[in-house]
Symmetry: C2
Subunit: 265 residues, 2 copies
C-alpha cells in the first residue's frame, strides 16, 4: 500500500478536491483506494456523502489508541473507502500534547490496513500542526496541490523545509512526489508565470540529494470548473456527479500521470 499525504498549509488550494477526485479516478482504473480525512473541517467526509455524528468514534480515538481504523471506515463506492473525520480532531493539539511518541500515532494505525488497499491518500488541514506532522510521519510520499497564485507559491519553500525536517527527524523514506496545479485559469498571465516558476524550480533540483530530488510538476493541470465546486453538495466525486465535465477529464488524466510518475521514479 502506497501512503500519500495531500498537503499544503495554504488554505483553499484544492487539497480536499484532489484527495477525493484523484482517489475516485484511481478506483475507477481498478485500484483499491482509501481516503483518510485528517481535517477537523471534515470536508472529504462531506464530499463523499458521509455524515459523521458527534457521538461516534473518531480519528482522534484512533490516534489515542482507543479504536481501530476499521471502526471508522466507510465503503463509499466500489474499491473506494473513506476514514471519516470529526469535529473533535480540532482538539488533537491539546489531547496529544503530552503523549509519548504522539507523532507516530497514525502510522501504527495505518499498518493494520496495509494489505487492504493499493493507495491511501490523507487529506490534511491547512496548517503545519500535530495532525499534519502525524501524516508526514506515516506516509511514503507527499502530493502538493497548488493554486497558481503568488501567495500560494510563496508558501512552497516553507512547505519543502517542513517535508525535509520530517524526513530527517521522523520518516527517512519520505519523498515529495509532485505538485499539482489546481483551479488553473488558463487565460491569465499570472497562472502561466507561476506554472513556469514551479517547473523551473523542479528542473533545477533534479538529482540533488533532497526529499524532492525526483519530484515533478505534473503536466496535468486541473482547470477551474464550477462542476468541481458543485460535486461536494451532492456527496459525490466529480466522476459520479459530472462524468463528462472538464473537471472529471482532468482528474482522470491526473490519475494516469500520477501512475506514470511512480514507474518513472
Amino acid at each position: 500500500m502506497r501512503k500519500v499525504a495531500v498537503l499544503n498549509q495554504k488554505g483553499g488550494v484544492g487539497k480536499t478536491t484532489t484527495a477525493v477526485n484523484l482517489s475516485a479516478a484511481l478506483a475507477e482504473l481498478g485500484h483499491r483506494v482509501c481516503v483518510v480525512d485528517m481535517d477537523p473541517q471534515a470536508h472529504a467526509t462531506l464530499h463523499l456523502g458521509v455524515t459523521a455524528r458527534e457521538d461516534e468514534r473518531s480519528l482522534l480515538d484512533v490516534l489515542l489508541g482507543e479504536c481501530a481504523l476499521a471502526d471508522i471506515t466507510h465503503d463509499v463506492r466500489e474499491r473506494l473507502a473513506l476514514v471519516r473525520a470529526s469535529i473533535d480532531l480540532a482538539a488533537a493539539e491539546a489531547e496529544l500534547a503530552g503523549v509519548e511518541g504522539r507523532e507516530a500515532a497514525l502510522s501504527t494505525a495505518l499498518d493494520a490496513v496495509e494489505s487492504q488497499y493499493d493507495f491511501l491518500f490523507i487529506d490534511c488541514p491547512p496548517s503545519l500542526g500535530v495532525l499534519t506532522i502525524n501524516a508526514l510521519a506515516a506516509v511514503d510520499e507527499v502530493l502538493i496541490p497548488m493554486q497558481p497564485h503568488f501567495l500560494a507559491l510563496h508558501g512552497l519553500s516553507k512547505l519543502l523545509e517542513t517535508i525535509e525536517l520530517a524526513a530527517e527527524r521522523l520518516n527517512p523514506k519520505l519523498r515529495l512526489r509532485g505538485v499539482v496545479l489546481c483551479m488553473y485559469d488558463a487565460g491569465t498571465r499570472l497562472a502561466a508565470e507561476v506554472a513556469r516558476d514551479v517547473a523551473r524550480f523542479f528542473d533545477q533540483v533534479q538529482g540533488q540529494p533532497s526529499p524532492w530530488a525526483d519530484a515533478c510538476a505534473y503536466e496535468t493541470r486541473i482547470r477551474r470548473n464550477v462542476r468541481l465546486a458543485e460535486a461536494p453538495s451532492f456527496g459525490k466525486s466529480i466522476l459520479d456527479y459530472a462524468s463528462n465535465s472538464p473537471g472529471a477529464a482532468d482528474y482522470r488524466q491526473l490519475a494516469r500521470d500520477y501512475l506514470d510518475s511512480l514507474t518513472a521514479a
Copy 2:
C-alpha cells in the same frame, strides 16, 4: 478604536485579501487603520510589502509580554499601518499552552494603541486554534469573508458556534458584523444559490438574542478579478496596484457599505 477579526477557518476564502484591501480603502477615505497579521503564513505582511526577518521581534513576543505592538509596527501608507507576522507564530500553540490567561494576551497589547487608530483589522489563520481565540477575545466584532461555494457555506454554522462560545466565555461584547462574499463568479448558479442561502439565514435571525442578531450579508460582492491575485506580488494593496480595476472598485464600495452598517446598528 474599533477592533475587527477577519475570520473563517475555511482556507483560501479571501481573508487576507479583505483585511488588506478593506483597510486600504478605509485609509483612503481618511480613517487611520492598522492591520494585524496573526497568520504564521505572514501573507498580509507580504501583501503590504514588508519582509519580516527571522531574528526580529515578533507578534509571539508581544503575546508573551516581551515587547510592545509598536516595536513590530510598520507605516506602509498614509494612515495605514501593519503589525507584521512571523513564522514563529506557528509555535504559539506550544508556547502559550500553560500560560495563565493566555487567551487575553493580545487584548492587553491592543489597549496600548487604542488612541492611535480608528480601525484595527486582524487577519486570522485558517483554523480555530489559540491565535484565533486570542483574536476573538480581543476584538469588538467579526467580519467573515466567504467564497460562495458549498464547502465554505458548510463551515459557517461551526464558525457561528465558535463566535457564540467566545462571546459567552471570553468577550461578552463580541458581535458578528457581517459576511462578505469574495471571489464571486457572477455567472454561476452555485454563487447565486449560496448568496441566497446566506442572506436568507441572516433575515431569519434578525432580532433573536445572539452575537449575530444584527449581522448582515453585505450587498457588495467582491468579484473574481485576477488583479487582486497579482497585487500581493507587488507588495501593494489593490488601490495602489490597479486603482481602476473591478477589484479596487469592489473594495471601495465595501468600505462604504461597512461604514454604513456601523451607523445602522
